[in-house]
């Protein structure tokens, strides 16, 4: 059963650039989908369309139950309010929804603990490392327990060690919560590690050129990252990406 179905979706910006063309896809409830492709292939645009931050110029998005569900969004940057403590940042979506500050902060503190940031509630974003800021951002996105989590290259700016740990933690949260996840990345290795399904995209105009299912054990952990199976899957996806690029060029 699909959470959302896109049919012939296109997006042309006011500048005339055709960012997306003829995108049709179904995202299954509870799935972990990676959008993989080089810069400028419309991955982020597709994510913004899903979030309702932009409207398609052609085609349609139909949501199961007709209305767009509540959405959590993680940007490339942590995108925190620098004037607010980590706890207040996480509590923001709840407070915007009208929850009383005390209740919102209690639930936010819970989520801070779940992303491994217990004890940093009163810290300001400035005082946190890049990885910790990204954890705050993830806690904020999940604090309303949204059915759909959208992530736009959230770990691209982090070092590899931190990125691996955040990948592990993200999968652990996904196993526990079973939200539907759409994860934009330009890393083959990251997409194979995280996703159950990879949609390979190509630029000019942005479109989906291949869909690959990643059959791998669940839960995935550090051992999976060094397995021959992982290497084989990465090879397959890399080949699909190379084919897509050759075709586009």
């Amino acid at each position: 059963m699909s959470l959302v179905a896109l049919r012939g979706v296109a997006k042309r910006y006011a500048t005339g650039t055709l960012a997306l063309e003829g995108v049709s896809l179904d995202i299954a409830r509870g799935d972990f989908v990676a959008l993989l492709g080089p810069s400028g292939c419309g991955k982020s645009t597709l994510l913004r369309l899903l979030a309702g931050l932009a409207d398609p110029t052609a085609g349609s998005l139909s949501w199961q139950g007709t209305a767009r569900p509540e959405i959590g969004f993680v940007f490339q940057e942590p995108t925190l309010m620098p004037w607010a403590t980590a706890l207040r940042n996480v509590a923001l979506p709840l407070e915007l929804a009208g929850l009383r500050r005390r209740d919102a902060e209690a639930r936010a503190a819970d989520w801070m603990a779940r992303v491994g940031l217990a004890g940093f509630e009163r810290s300001y974003p400035r005082a946190l490392s890049g990885g910790m800021r990204m954890r705050v951002s993830i806690a904020r996105a999940l604090v309303t327990r949204p059915p759909l989590l959208l992530m736009d290259e959230p770990f691209a700016a982090l070092d590899e060690i931190t990125r691996f740990r955040l990948n592990d933690d993200l999968l652990r949260l996904w196993e526990a919560e079973r939200f539907t996840a759409v994860f934009v990345t330009h890393s083959v290795f990251e997409s194979v590690f995280l996703a159950r399904r990879i949609l390979v995209m190509a630029p000019r105009p942005g479109r989906i050129v291949a869909a690959l299912d990643i059959t791998a054990p669940s839960p995935r952990d550090g051992a999976f990252r060094t397995s021959g199976e992982y290497a084989a899957q990465c090879r397959t996806v890399s080949q699909a990406l190379a084919d897509a690029m050759a075709e586009a060029a």
Binding site: T79, M81, W83, L92, L96, Y124, R126
Partner: protein, 258 residues
Amino acid sequence: MTWLRLLAPAVVALLFLACWEAAVRLYAIPPYILPGPVLIAQTLVRDWGTLSGSLLVTLQITLMALAAAAGLGLLLAILFAQSRILALSLFPFAVILQVTPIVAIAPLIIIWANDVTLSLLICAWIVAFFPILSNTTLGLNSADPNLVDLFRLYRASRWQTLWRLRLPSALPYFLAGLRISGGLSLIGAIVAEFVAGTGGSASGLAWRIMESGYQLQIPRMFAALALISATGIAIFMALTLLSHLLLRHWHESATGGH
């Protein structure tokens, strides 16, 4: 580093004053041309009765004008941020008000207001309010676009977006504007009083300077001048401290310095 920042300018000031005093004594410059710092200090103490009264008058007008500039500047900036039409139609007039020399319109204001304190206040306000208006308008519009998207995503109301996102984003800009306006409101108050040229018991430091000039009481002129400078420095330091206290947790301007 902190004490060096205070000590270095203090040493320069002391050296300067010492050279000044030495030059005045060495060349026997008469006090009606250039009084030495010692004589100026003595005059300041001797005439403290009248000078402190004038200082209070000037300070009152300056602070009231600054408060009005901050309040109205902020309010107008919020209105501008809410409505583009309003901003486009009113901003040019704020610019006109800003570029017209205050000395040129002060006589008109004095005639219209028909009250000295009120007209001085209006003049000082006109000089002071523009930096706050333009800075705060800029600040309200410079919120992180991703955060703006986030607020949209959570269907935040206009009021929530203003209160929780735009106003905090504008705070550093507003405070920078306030620091500029603090000095300008003092200048506005002094210039307006020069133009008004009113004497009497309830007159400010500008009048004391003019009065001393007419009477060739140059040491007193310098004493009044020193008080004006000291007031300007005090206002600037107070606003810098306020800015530091409000921004120390999160803004580069307050946290990067040390």
